[in-house]
Symmetry: C2
Subunit: 147 residues, 2 copies
Amino acid sequence: MADQSPKAIINELLVEVFNQILSIEQQNLRERGVELSMNEVHVLEAIEKTDEPTMSTIAKRLRVTVGTLTTSVNRLVAKGYCERDGVKGDRRKVSVGLTDKAREVLKVHEQFHDEMIDAVIEDLHLEENHVLIDSLENLNSYFKTKY
Amino acid sequence: MADQSPKAIINELLVEVFNQILSIEQQNLRERGVELSMNEVHVLEAIEKTDEPTMSTIAKRLRVTVGTLTTSVNRLVAKGYCERDGVKGDRRKVSVGLTDKAREVLKVHEQFHDEMIDAVIEDLHLEENHVLIDSLENLNSYFKTKY
DNA sequence: AAAGAATATTTTGATATTCAAAACAAAAAA
DNA sequence: TTTTTTGTTTTGAATATCAAAATATTCTTT
């Protein structure tokens, strides 16, 4: 490959990493005995991280329609990873919670992320971390403002 | 949220960016009049970037089974984005090529990537790019060696 | 050369993922 | 008390995915 600008290098690396990461995360879960798809794990993560986890708020976080989320949650409930509960004060709303089984899966997945981040910041000097953080924040706020 | 380590911040930003980017790319394509899914675009990209684009080599790059790729290519052929061709010298193999229509879509998508990378680089001094590049390379080689 | 093994692809059958639009239920507004 | 809005589920349809079976072709072995 010919002489490349930093921009072209960054683009290529981003694309490559992106295209790999989902299937690698999936593979990692399999190896650790988790029988869920990455998609299902992402739903669990979203439930965990959403403040008042109703169908609407979770779907918004995941950027899917509520109907899509319904089918995911149906399956996760059937498999014993989620529970539905009415929200008192508004009987239209449905609150979704995690079971202990789900929390264990998330712990396993988090460990993978830990190792991944260690790999990312490997060889970087501590004072350079802020540069990486700034880069990621730029990327993040670019999306936030633009979409 | 409480006091966070650089590691925790990097993790959170990475996750957030990752979870956003696919749906944002999808949205961007829609806005620009492309009626393909991101998945279909990724297949086109893989075809473009694979040296000898037969079903096997493309599937390997995409990390899907060849059967899966068959259905994707069937649809892309039906929609006029791909063409199948025999490989001379080995009649088992099938070469997949892009049509002009596909190349236009890829150009549109590439433009989005360009803007995205510009946004990342924005505010960073040029000499600091190596930090982002090094980080991405670390991540990349972590996956390469580990999987 | 004929038989058997290996390789490349497609087909089949099943499950998961997704959306838009319709149906329902409850709350809020008029 | 109607009407409208909000929150969720259901329905119907397209995509995405895999494993295993079926085909076709090439390579290997005898």
